[in-house]
Amino acid sequence: MRLALVLCLVAVAGKPRAVEGDAFERGVDAYRRGQWEVAQSYWKEALAAELAPQHRARLLYDLGNAAWRKGETLEAVGWYAASLRLDPRRADTWKNLELARARAGLDPADRGDLGSTFKRLVSSLRPRERRGLVLASLVPLALFLALEALRGGRLVARLALASSLFVALALVPFGLGLRGGPEHPLLVVRGPAVPLSSEPRADLPPIGEVAAGEEVERIDALPGWTRVRTRAGLRGWVPEEAVFALER
C-alpha cells in the first residue's frame, strides 16, 4: 500500500504540467489565417509561461516562422538561433535557420568543415544530457576505482584508467557548456552593420560597428538602447531594436 502511494506520487510528479494553452492555440489560428503579427503577439504571451525547454524551443521556432513570413529574415534567424540553444538537435530548426541565414546573406551556421562539424557535435547535447553523460561516465570509473582500492591488480587499474579517459571525453561538452558564451547573448538583427556609439546618443560619431548576424553580449540597457560587448572586446551602445536576445 505504501509502495503504491509512493509510485503514484512519483508518477504525478514526473508528468509535465499542462500550460494554459489559449495564447498558443490562438497564435496558431492567427498564423493559419496569415496574421503573422497577431500570431507573434500570442506566442510571445505564451512564452511568458513556464515551459519545458523543448516546448519552449518549439515556441521559439514558431516565432521564427512568423518572423520569416513577415519578411523579417534577420529576426527569424534570431528566433531560430534561440530555439537551437534549447533544443540543438531539432532538424527543422536547423533547416529554417540555414535558409534564413542564406536569405539574409549570412554565412551558413554549419559550414560543413571539420571545425563546424565538431562544434555542432559538441553543442548537440542539451545541458541536462551533458551533465548526465558526465555522471554516467563516472559510474564505471567509481566502480573500477573501488575495486582497485579493495583488491588492487593491474587489470583493474587499467580499466580505471580507461574509464577516466571516457570521463575526460564526456567532460568536453560539459566544460564547453559551463564556459558557454556571453551571459546575455544577443544577435545583431539589423543589417548590414550597426554602428556602435560610446554613449546612448544617436548624434555621436560611431566608434565601431557590428555586422548583422554577429553575436554580442549585453552588458547594460537603457530605454531604447542596449550596451553590448563584441567578440573583439569593443563596447558600445546600439539601438535596442538592432539586437535580439537569444535567451528567452
Binding site: A13, G14, K15, P16, R17, A18, V19, G21, F24, E25, V28, Y31, A46, A49, E50, L51, A52, P53, H55, R58, L59, Y61, D62, N65, A66, W68, A76, D92, K95, N96, L99, A100, P127, R128, R131, G132, V134, L135, L138, L141, A142, L145, A146, E148, A149, L150, R151, G152, G153, V167, L171, F174, L178
Partner: protein, 589 residues
Amino acid sequence: MRNPTRLFVCALALLAWPAHPLRAQRSGEPKVSAQLSTGVARLGERVLLTIAVENAREVRITRMPEVPGLAFGDPSGPSSYQSTQILNGRRYDSFQINWRLPIRPSQEGEFSIPPIGLDVDGRALETRPLRLRVVVDLRGADLGFLCIRPSSAKVVEGEPFTLELRFGWDASTSINYADLSLPWWGALPGLVELDTGDLPSGAQRVEGVRINGESGLVVEQVESAPGEENFQVFRLVRSFLPSRPGPVEFPESFLEFAKIRENFFDTRKVASYFVRAEPFTLEVVPLPLEGQPLDYSGAVGTLAVHASADVRDVGVGESIKFTVEWTGQGNLEFFQAPDPKRIDSFHSFRVFGSTEEKRFELRRVVYDLAPLDESVREIPALPLSVFDPEQGVYRTLATDAIPIRVRPLERSATLGEDAGAKSFASDIEDIDARPLAGPSAGEDAFPGDYAVLASLVSVPLGWILLRGAVRARRGDPGAPLERRRRRARLSLTRALSRSTEPRAVLDAFTDYLAARAKDPPQAWAGRDVETWAAARGAGSAPASQAAREAARDVARVVRRLEAAVFGGGPLVPREEVLAAAERWEETTR
C-alpha cells in the same frame, strides 16, 4: 646551273595559301649540303664538288680539304639562287648559295673527302664527308646496267614524285659485291624524302648492297623486264616532295659490282665492273596562281576521299565522330586539313576538335561534331581544294554528305523560356502546432552543474580515502602474498581436483595453510596447527572457541593425511579437506 650566277624570281601570289607546311622549308635553319658530280671517276678525269648552303646570307668557306691523290682547284662562285613568294599576303624568301670546286684525281683508289668548314651567318657548319672512287678504266658496261627514273620529269611544287633505281648484272657471273655510287643520295636541296624505304609485303628482299660505300641498304629483287633477260635485276624506290620551285640536278651515278674472294687472311676483289647512269635534271615548277582558291590549303596530287560517321542517330548536342580519309598520290602528310568551323555548311554543328593521323599513303582526320538543332538532317560535304598536277587545275574534292537523324533534347521544355517550366522555391518548414507543456517536476533541476562537479571531485576523493583505509588495515591488497592468500582456497580446490594421491593432497593442503598464513610452504611442514592457532589466539571468546575448533579440525586432517602418506592409512575424502579449509578460512579471515 652552268652560269656562275642564276637568279630565279618566282611569281608573286596575292591569293591566300593558308599555312602551307612547306613554308617551314623556306625560312628554316641554314642547311648545308655537298655533292660530287660523280662517285666514280677515271684517273685524271675532272670531278666537280658542289657545295650548297640554303637559308643563309653570309657564307664563306673556312677550311678546304686536303686529300693525298686528289688535287683541289680554286672554288668558282659563289653563285646564288633566290626564290620569293607572297603567300596569304606575306612574303617568303629563300636563298641558296653554291660553290663549285674542281677535283682532279692523280692516283687510283678510293678516297674519302673530309668535311669542308663553312662560316654561315656567323655559325660554324661543315659538309658531310664524301667518297670518291678513282679507277684506271671503267669496264663492264655490257655486264650490267643502272637506270634511274623519276616518275615525272616535271613536277609541281608540293607534288610528290618517286625515283626508281633499277640495276642488275649478268646472271651468269658470280657477283657477290655491289656498291651504288650515288653522289646525290641524301644531298638534294629543296627535296623532302617522304617514305622510309620499307619494301612492300611479299617483296623479295636482298641485303648486302652498299650505297656510297655504306652497308645496310635493303633492295628488292624483281623479275627481269624485256631486254633484261640475262640479268639479275634489283629495284630501289624512294619518294620525294619538292619544297621549292626550280631545277633539281641528279649527277651521274655508278654501280660497281664485283666478285670478292675471301680467305682467312685477306679479302680482295677478283674482278670489278662499273656501269653508269646518265645525269638528269628534274624541273620543279611553282603552283599556278591562276584559279587558286582562297581556301587552298596546299594539297597537291591525285587524291580520293572517303567519309564516315560512327553514329547516325543522335540527340541534340551528342557527339558524332566524323572520320575523313584522303588517299592517293599526293602530299597527304603536308596539306592543312579543312576546318569545319570555317565552313558555313557546318554552322549547325559544334566542333569540339579533331585528331589527325598522317601517313605517306593516308591522311585521316576524325572530327568531333555535335548537332545543335534537331532540324539537322545530314553531315554536309567537307570540301578540300586540291591542285591536280595531271590536269594542271585546282579542283574541289568533297566528301559525300552523310544523312543523320537528330533527336530533340529530352525534357527540352526545361530549357525553353516559357514552355510550362516548373520551378520550385525553397521555403521553411511549417510551424509546430502541438500543444505546449510546462516542465516536469524536478526536470532540469537534477543533476545540476554543482552535482556533477561534486561527483567529479567525490569519486577520486572517495577512491583515495578507501584505498588508504584498506591499506592501513590489511596492507596492500595487490601485494603478491595477499593475492596468494586470496587465491589459496581456489588453488587447493584445483589441486584436489587434479589428483587424489595422498602425497599430493597433503602438499596442496600444506600450501593452502601457508598461503593463508602468508608463510612459505616449508614453514608448515610438521607445524602443530593447534599450538600455532593458540599462539595467534586474538579475538573474543566465541571467536577463539570457533578458531580452536577449526584448528583442531585442520590438525586432525593434517594428521590423517600424514598417516595416509607415511603410514599407509586410509585416504582422506576431498570434501572433508575442503570443509576443514572452509572452517579454517572463516576463523582466520
